[in-house]
Amino acid sequence: MAKATKNNTLKLKFDSLKYAPAPESKSSATINAQYDLFINGKFERPLSKKYFDTINPATEEKLSSVADANAADIDKAVKAARNAYSNVWSKMAAKERAKYIYRIARMIQERAREFAVIETLDGGKPIRESRDIDIPLAANHFFYYAGWADKLDYAFPNQHPKSLGVAGQIIPWNFPLLMAAWKIAPALATGNTVVLKPAETTSLSALKLAEIIQESDLPPGVVNILTGAGATGAAIVNHPDINKIAFTGSTDVGKIIQRATAGTNKKVTLELGGKAANIIFEDAPIDQAVEGIINGIYFNQGHVCCAGSRLFVQESVYKEVLRKLKDRIATLIVGDPMDKNTDIGAINSKQQLETIHKYINIGKKEGAEMFESSCALPRKGFFCRPTLFTNVAQSSRIAQEEIFGPVLTIQTFRTDDEVIEKANNTPFGLSAGVWTDKGSKIFNLTTKLRAGVIWANTYNKFDPTSPFGGYKESGFGREGGLHGLGAYLNVHS
C-alpha cells in the first residue's frame, strides 16, 4: 500500500506492510564459556585470576566470561612482544612478514560469517552492518597493509624508515574487529609487535581474531591480545618498555593518555571524539542528502566518532528537509540486531544508554524541540529511538558535546560564510559532510572545513587506502592509507 502525497513523495504505510523476521542464525559462531588472555601465542589464565562477564546488549544475556588482565599480565605480554620483536619479527625479511599478514586477511575472509555473528551478538550492531561493513573492511585492511611491508622505502622519500618496537594499542567498542584491524595491520606491516586491548564490552571478536592469529602460525608474541577495562589500558599506557601508544576512544581519555605519556619517549597517536557538521545546501539532491543524513547519524546507533551529529540546513529548504527526515526516521527499523532487516540495533551498553538519555534530557531542558520515531522498542536490552532536535542553539550542550548515540541536532544557515563559521566553531575536527550539486561550492567548503575527513555528497564511507584521523581535539596521526604507516615508523627527528 502506498499513496502519493501532495509533494509527490511516496509514503509507505508500515502499519499494513511489515517485514517478516529474517534472523541470522547464531549457530555459525562458536563462543566459548570463558576466554583467557592471548600471550606469546597461547591462551593463558590471567595472573589477576579475575574474569568479567560480557553480555549481549540486545537481550542482556551473558555470552561469555572474559579474563581481566592486570599490570602483571600486561608486563608478561610486553616481555613476549619485546622478545618477539628483538629476536624474530624485526629480523624477518619484510616480504615474509607480509605473507603472515596476507594469511590473516584470508582467514578473516574465510570466517567472515562467524565474525559477523559474534560482532553483532557482543556489540549490538545490526547484522547487516557487521556482515557488509565491519568484517569485510577488517579483512581488507589486513590485505592492504600486508602489501606495504616490503615497500616502506617508497612511502617516505629519503627516510629509510625504521620500526618503533612494541606497540600498545587500545581500541573502542563501536567497531571492535575493524578497530583491531586498523591497529594491528599497519603495526605488523611496519615491523612492530603488538599488545592490544579491546574494549571491555566487546572483547569477543578480538579473541576470535587471536584464535585466527594462532592458527596462522604468526610467531608467538608478535601479537598479544589482553582483555580488561580502564585499569588494563592504563597498565599498557604506563608500561616503560612500550615504544608506541595508539588509542582510539574519547577525547577525555585521549587527554589522560597524552598527559600520562609526557616525559616518556613513547610515540603517541590518538583518534578521538568528534561532533561533525553535515551541511545541506538548497541545491543539493534532497532525497539523497536525507539518506546521507540518516546514514551519517544513525549508522551503528550513532556510535561513530565521525557521526554527522550536527546538521546544518540552508533556510530555504529547511521545512522540506525536516519533513523528509521525520518521514524517513519513521521507517527505520529498531530492534533485534540479528535480524537482517534491522536498521538500528542495540545501544552497546547500559552505561552508554544512560549517557544518551542524559543528553536527551539536557537538550529538552535547554529548550530544544525533540522529535523521535514512534516505533516500539524491545522490552529487554538497551535500545534508543532515532531522535532529532530542532531549535538548537550553537551554544547548546547537545550541539557542542559528543553524545555517541542516535541523536541529531539541526540548525539552519543562510550563507556559505555563516555555515563555515558555525561548522568550525567546535574544539573537534574529525569529519564533516557537504551536500550540494555545485562543484565549486564543494571545494570551497571542503577546503575551509577544519576536519580530517570530508565527505561530499556522501557520508560515513571508509576504505583501507583512505587516511582517517582528526584535526584539533579529535586527535593526531592518521590510520589507513600510506599516511597511516607513519604512525608506526621512525620518520624524521
Binding site: 629519503n158 565527505w455 620518520v491
Partner: protein, 296 residues
C-alpha cells in the same frame, strides 16, 4: 671637530606586524662572553604572548588561504631582504660571541635555508598528497593542510640559524607562529623581525618575542588556541611539562632536541614542514550510470 654620536638601536618585540615594547614594561640585559651588555631587551610577559597568539590566529585564515606560489614568493623575498642586510646580522652575531668567519657562514646558511623552504612552499603538497584507490565508486584524495597556530621556543644556542630553521618550514606550510627568541642571544631575532616586516609577510604570520623560556614555556604549551608547539632543547623536565600542558587541547608537541642547525644535511627537509601539517581526506561519489568503458 666633534665626533659623531652613534645611534643605538632599541630592540623591541614583534606582534601583529607592529613593534611594541612589552606591555609589562620589563627588560633584561643579556651579556656576551666579554661581559658587554648586548642591549636592553624586552622581557616579554604572558600577556604579550596572548596578544601574539591573537594576532597569529587572526592571520591564519588569510595566510593558509594564500596560493602556495604566493607564499613561495614571499619566503624568497625574506631571503632577498636578509641578503641585503647581511652585514648587520654578521655584526650582531659577532657581538654575540661568534667569530667573523662563523658569523658570515651562519648568515649565508640562514639565507640559503629560507630559499630552500621557499622552494618547498608549492611542492611538498605534491610529494605528500595521495589519490587513494578506494574500492567503492568514489573519488578520494588526501592533502596536507597547515595545523594552525604554532608556538615555538627557538633554539637557545644560536641567534639566527636556529630561529630561521624553525620559522621557515612552519610558515612555508601555511601556519602562523609565535616565536620566543634565544634568551642569551636575542639580537638577530629582533632584526629578523624587521626583515620579515619588510618582506610582504602579512602582520601576525610571524610574531617574535624576547624573554625567558623558563618563565613563558608553560604558557606556550598550555594556550588553548595554539595547535602545536615546537621545542628544541635537551631538557627532559621541560619536555615533560610541554607534553603535559599540551594535553589540555590535544596540542601537537614537536621536539627537535637532537638537531644541529648548522648541518645542512640533517637540519632541513620537507619533513620539518609536514610535522605541522594535518592530512585531510576528501570523498566524492563517482556516478555509475551507463556501461561505457574508457577502452580506447
Amino acid at each position: 671637530m666633534s665626533t659623531r654620536v652613534e645611534v643605538l638601536k632599541t630592540y623591541k618585540i614583534y606582534i601583529g606586524g607592529q613593534f611594541p615594547r612589552t606591555e609589562s614594561g620589563r627588560y633584561y640585559s643579556p651579556k656576551n662572553k666579554r661581559g658587554e651588555s648586548l642591549a636592553n631587551v624586552c622581557l616579554s610577559s604572558r600577556k604579550d604572548f596572548r596578544d601574539a597568539v591573537g594576532a597569529a590566529r587572526n592571520a591564519f585564515g588569510g595566510w593558509s588561504g594564500r596560493a602556495a606560489f604566493n607564499r613561495a614568493q614571499i619566503l624568497y623575498r625574506i631571503a632577498e631582504m636578509l641578503e641585503g642586510r647581511k652585514a648587520q646580522f654578521i655584526d650582531e652575531l659577532v657581538k654575540q660571541n661568534a667569530s667573523a668567519k662563523d658569523a658570515e657562514r651562519e648568515v649565508n646558511l640562514s639565507i640559503d635555508r629560507i630559499i630552500y623552504y621557499a622552494g618547498w612552499c608549492d611542492k611538498f603538497q605534491q610529494v605528500f598528497s595521495s589519490v587513494n584507490p578506494v574500492a567503492s565508486s568514489h573519488f578520494n584524495f588526501s592533502v596536507p593542510e597547515p595545523t594552525g597556530v604554532v608556538s615555538i621556543i627557538a633554539p637557545q644556542n644560536s641567534s639566527l640559524i636556529g630561529l630561521v630553521s624553525v620559522i621557515a618550514p612552519i610558515i612555508a606550510g601555511g601556519n602562523t607562529c609565535v616565536v620566543l627568541a634565544s634568551e642569551d642571544q636575542p639580537l638577530c631575532a629582533v632584526t629578523f623581525a624587521e626583515v620579515i616586516n619588510s618582506s610582504d609577510v602579512p602582520g601576525g604570520v610571524v610574531n617574535i618575542l624576547t624573554g625567558k623560556p623558563s618563565e613563558l614555556i608553560k604558557y606556550f604549551a598550555e594556550h588553548m588556541d595554539v595547535n602545536a608547539i615546537i621545542y628544541c632543547e635537551k631538557d627532559d623536565a621541560n619536555k615533560k611539562l610541554i607534553q603535559e600542558k599540551s594535553a589540555l587541547n590535544v596540542k601537537r608537541a614537536i621536539f627537535y632536541d637532537g638537531v644541529n642547525w648548522l648541518d645542512e644535511e640533517k637540519s632541513q627537509s620537507p619533513y620539518f614542514i609536514t610535522d605541522t601539517q594535518e592530512i585531510k581526506t576528501t570523498w566524492h561519489p563517482i556516478e555509475t550510470v551507463g556501461s561505457a568503458k574508457a577502452g580506447y
